[in-house]
Symmetry: C5
Subunit: 354 residues, 5 copies
């Protein structure tokens, strides 16, 4: 179960720009990896602090510095200082409850969004915040914990596959965003498969567990939507920005992300409506079965009540009950009961109640 | 049952512009047909590759190249190369999970949308992606599988019916779009007929199957809407484009498509609301019948319970029960039972419960 | 019951501008009436074809040509030819499933909308399409079947009442539109009266028929809304057009129609919400009554069950049942039953279940 | 119960600008009162016709002419003629079913809106239409019936309290609008108190009457909303008008009305949502109680059914029933019944059904 | 329980700008505190009246004057006079039912919004109105009652922590707004924890109290939303204002508040949807349990009814009942009963009703 809110209140009362990491990541030292490349050269190494990364900043090659572990205040303050990050930007980076957004700060563009992954064990969606600082020839990426969806990009950089090594920092940033958004589709596929499974079950034999699954999926989608909805605005901001940091030829690629973001939203909305439909199907299906059971049982009871009454009458101990002494009395009583039962069965089936 | 999501995840991690066909079409060789015409001449042939089509590109006549089978990577790459298609455009063409959209790329306009058809057997809507590349004097159309709604247009081209042979590539593109959108009305008509059928049944005798049909129709409409909704934006994009590829006199025709797209959307929304109303009608109808059954049965039970109790009293074996030895006892007991039953019937009908 | 969709599919595959009448009107010859007037003169006659009307077109006087019967292809093609109507406009005129809209084609303004009337017998709304062609000094009006709401306008023209004879073709078009929109209020009044009737009944004694009426009204309103909703956009189009065909002093009158259109929409929406409220009232009212019935009946049953059990005990035939031989046994048993019954009644009424 | 629609159909077919009063006000002679003031002078009198008021029009002082009784056609036509009112404006003034709106006609600004009041007896909202004509140095106000919310303004004018006597006609118009909008808050307060009353009751003991009240309040709010919603647009129109009739320094006051109008709307929407919540509370509360009753009663019945069956067995008259002749038979039977009853009670309470 | 509406009607009829405090604060004398600071100096004192504060107004240092107790008319009028507040602004400050908004009045910017706090005892949200007047070098803040969320700011001012002492009045105003908005997150956290508690309970054992809690939370959120929704517009107004009172470098900070406001709204909406989902879960969970109970109980009853009938038959006292005298009669009857019972159990479990 995703927590409903992150504890952001511990920030209350602090001056703006205070670096108070709000994350589920454990308090370990940050892991910094540096990848520096251009069309011909490629270097990959790890670093201990922002200072170590500083030399790469001036070079004409593109540098991608990835930081895992935003709770390491010392490292974060180092990046703030050496890369000239605005205090509010730094505050946003370390606050993993941040709403996805982009901001153009002149020297760099700040992008923050959610990287989603599936917890294979519980089937729930895990959300990790990724912040990007896109400069003229460098990209900083900040993550809460190690592990991300960027490995194929690292592979393409190493093997110089595609056009990524020929392009600038903006294209790298695009590639990172694209990897994150593409991954949303995997999440939706998982949801789609879950829903198909439930739907098949609903037709054959609805169980309360299915309803539970429907509610869980619905809530997961609600969280998903909250993460994805601002994405459209974010990419739109990148498309409309007049920052020289983003080249004209990258725009077409950003438009592609925009299309994908809209498609993700569309699918989320469709899924939500379908889950609503499934819930209705479940409820009316269960109610149908219940009605059927109750109706048949009630009818059985109703048929026996009047004939049991007749048996009760001849079970009375009055001394003067003429029928009792007749030899045909017992059989007549049985006959009357049979006739009454038959009449009721006929009446009920005529009414369409059987 | 339409699949909930197409497996787009196999693309995750690949560089943008990778040609990974995502389609339900079988992996067969693509079928290419070329139609080249102007007001006076007409030629129709088939081709094996994009190279074969290349000579038609330079001619002043209009060329329509139709490709069935986007999963044929070799052919698709050929078109990408020889017709100068942007890698992202090519990627979108072969990804049949694409959201309908249009893009103006200067040399050509890229349009992708859904062609719908009814699966006569199951009554479900089949959706096939159609991509159009509209150039100065050629139109490329890419489909997933053979079979489309364009035969009347081919016929008009062959027989030079209407004004189609006198106009340019933009008019041909319009004609193709128009054929696709016109076909949506057939789908809606089918839905309308299904709904009329259900509605008639709901009034006479509602069955759970009708509710099932309502839910299925509702879900089909949901998918339909997802395919159709972006259409409006698409046509609007064509109307507002300042591309010289679309002539002024074609605008009026595009406006007509726009009107049709809005009307399709309106009808889909109305159908959705009507299905909601039908569902309500079904539920309250079933609940009405159920209530009536339960009420009558419960009343029968309630009437017999007190008089059965009286029979029980005189069935007790106490030695000293004065009434038992009276000659009138039995008849008095029957009378009392009758009176009590009568009083209850009168009371219940006064209360309006019968 | 209004049909859900008109059969527009028979047009599929035809070239645009094909004149394929889609109407419920019978295939009879069209009836053409011509009214020609200015401040001083007035002429009214009938005609057989568009050619006959042609001489009126050039005159400085205003000419109103009304055509009943759009299924008469010959006549319609005549008007298309002689009044220079665009093929798509002509196609729209004869397609009675057209969405209300206006188009400014330079030489004339094309307006198409729905004229509604009540079928007195069934209480359902009948919808007839009216198309107007507003030229410099003429107005063409096309209707599906004879019979319309324009008689008061004809009367005003004949008797020169109001300012209609002093104004141009645009004012005539306004008068026609105004007559159609004013008539919507009559429809809404009818709905309002129906709803008042149902509401009064809901308070006194709800019946399933009332629920049925509510659903029927709701669906009728849905159709009404579909016809009226685009009206606002239509009139707005007329208000914003810069066509010299509409004079400045007519604008104030069009604004009045705009206000009316909004008021009609408001009322439709309010009615829809009120019908929703009535449905809720009905359901909770029925459920209340049902609950009350079931509760009382169940309580009666529950009171008798334990005391019937006691009677059952003393109906057992064991040889050694000490109570049976006591002279006070019978009365004690009756007393115990009475006490138990009383306790239960008291308990139930304390619990507030009675 | 407010009538659903006013009978506006009697206007159908009349030329635009026809003065056909549509009002619930009785057909009596109009009552005209004239207040003429500037910073130093003040005159208050009544008049019989528009002609009598005419002399005040030219004076530099501000004149407020109030007319009660729009059904007096003669008087209304007099105002139309002598104050140069456009026929459509006059038609709107006498049609009390008018939607609130403002129109700038150059010489004067026309404002029409609803003045609401509570019918103390029935607790329903009465709506009266007020039309204002704001000229350079005069304000005409037209009401349906005598009695309004303007008395405090008259008092302030007489006693020269506040700044009203120092300002022009636009400030007077503002004061009138402000009085009307302020009064909406009283209506909402009444609704709020009703709702608090119901809510307290819902917690302690829900009754069907409360549900009825909820529905009535909901419907009243629906009507309220229909009257208030267009107000925002109306005041916005006044704020954006460039008419010299409204002075810059009055704008701040109009903005205040705008804020109030939004606040009224907010409260109406919040109330609507709260009533929805109350309805849900009522329904689940009733359903809870019902379930509890049914469960307990059903359980009682279920416990007695098997033990009554045992009594039935030993009530059978077979000659050979070994248990019957045992001296311990009766007590054993009672014991068995007791044990069975106990087991069922334990089972049910273990299951949590008791 | 928050009151539904504040009694604003006592203002009705008064001239605009009347100072009629509408607040829940007790009628005590206002408490005025003055903080005057620049980068080097700091002074903190209390005052009795607006006159006492006047000397600080002219100084180059920044002055923050906080007033607790808007019901003190004398003090409020003093501020109105000495700080040149517009009568309508003053009226808005003392009316605690004001909708959050900002207004740029040239000499100063007027901001009014809600400061929320949790009543620890009842768990309900308390709302207090805060009004800010932001001048060139002073900020006035007006509160209803003593006690606020500004203590950390006072501390930062005293200890010169952060950059607050180096900045102007606009930064101080930002800090106050930021403190208020940050506090909203604490409220939401409290709601989130309440909801998690309910959700855990819903899965294990749903109780009517949980439903009650859901409804209460839902209503609290409704009030919260009403307070927060206008905030976005308010901050947007500050961002778009061209007033020289707000420096360019403060804009970035205001944008941060804007982001926070949107995030608060997002969370409120998500919470509302989740509460809706919880309500559905509760209802279907209760209905599930109820159905199960009723089904099992009804089945028990149904099984015993036919076999009790058989016992009834052999309890009849007819003289000629052949079975009665058979030695195997009793056991045969018991056997038949057992078989019938068994058959029904098998039948019911085959049907899946058990």
């Amino acid at each position: 179960m995703p927590k409903f809110t992150k504890t952001t209140s511990k920030k209350a009362g602090l001056p703006p720009g205070s670096i108070v990491p709000i994350t589920d990541g454990k308090a370990a030292a940050a892991r910094i990896t540096v990848i520096d490349y251009d069309a011909t050269s490629f270097e990959e190494r790890s670093a201990q602090s922002a200072e170590e990364c500083l030399p790469y900043k001036g070079r004409p090659s593109v540098t991608w510095i990835n930081v895992d572990g935003i709770q390491d205040v010392t490292v974060m303050e180092g990046f703030g200082e050496h890369f000239g990050l605005h205090p509010l930007v730094l505050e946003d980076i370390v606050d993993s409850a941040q709403r996805p957004k982009m901001e153009d700060l002149g020297d760099y563009i700040f992008v923050v969004l959610k990287m989603l992954s599936l917890d294979a064990a519980t089937g729930s969606v895990k959300s990790e915040q990724v912040a990007l600082i896109v400069g003229a020839d460098y990209v900083l990426s900040f993550q809460e914990v190690p592990g991300d969806v960027f490995d194929p990009i690292r592979e393409r950089l190493r093997s110089s596959k595609g056009r990524i090594r020929d392009r600038g920092a903006d294209y790298l940033a695009y590639a990172l965003l694209d990897a994150i958004v593409d991954n949303y589709f995997s999440i939706l596929e998982y949801f789609g498969e879950e829903m198909e499974g439930v739907e098949v079950g609903l037709v054959s034999a609805p169980t309360p567990e299915m309803l539970q699954t429907i509610y869980v999926l619905k809530r997961e989608l609600l969280f998903l939507r909250k993460s994805i909805w601002p994405l459209r605005e974010l990419v739109n901001g990148l498309l409309r920005t007049e920052s020289p940091l983003i080249h004209e030829r990258t725009m077409m690629y950003l438009r592609d992300i925009y299309d994908n973001a809209i498609q993700v939203m569309d699918t989320v909305e469709t899924f939500r409506e379908m889950l609503g439909g499934m819930r209705d199907t479940y409820i009316s299906s269960v109610s149908n079965r219940m009605n059927e059971v109750m109706k048949v049982l009630t009818i059985i009871a109703t048929i026996f009540i009047p004939i049991t009454f007749i048996a009760g009458i001849y079970g009375m101990n009055f001394q003067h009950m003429p029928e009792l002494s007749q030899p045909w009395g017992y059989f007549a009583a049985l006959g009357v009961m049979g006739v009454i039962g038959l009449i009721m069965v006929i009446y009920f089936s005529r009414k369409g109640w059987l």
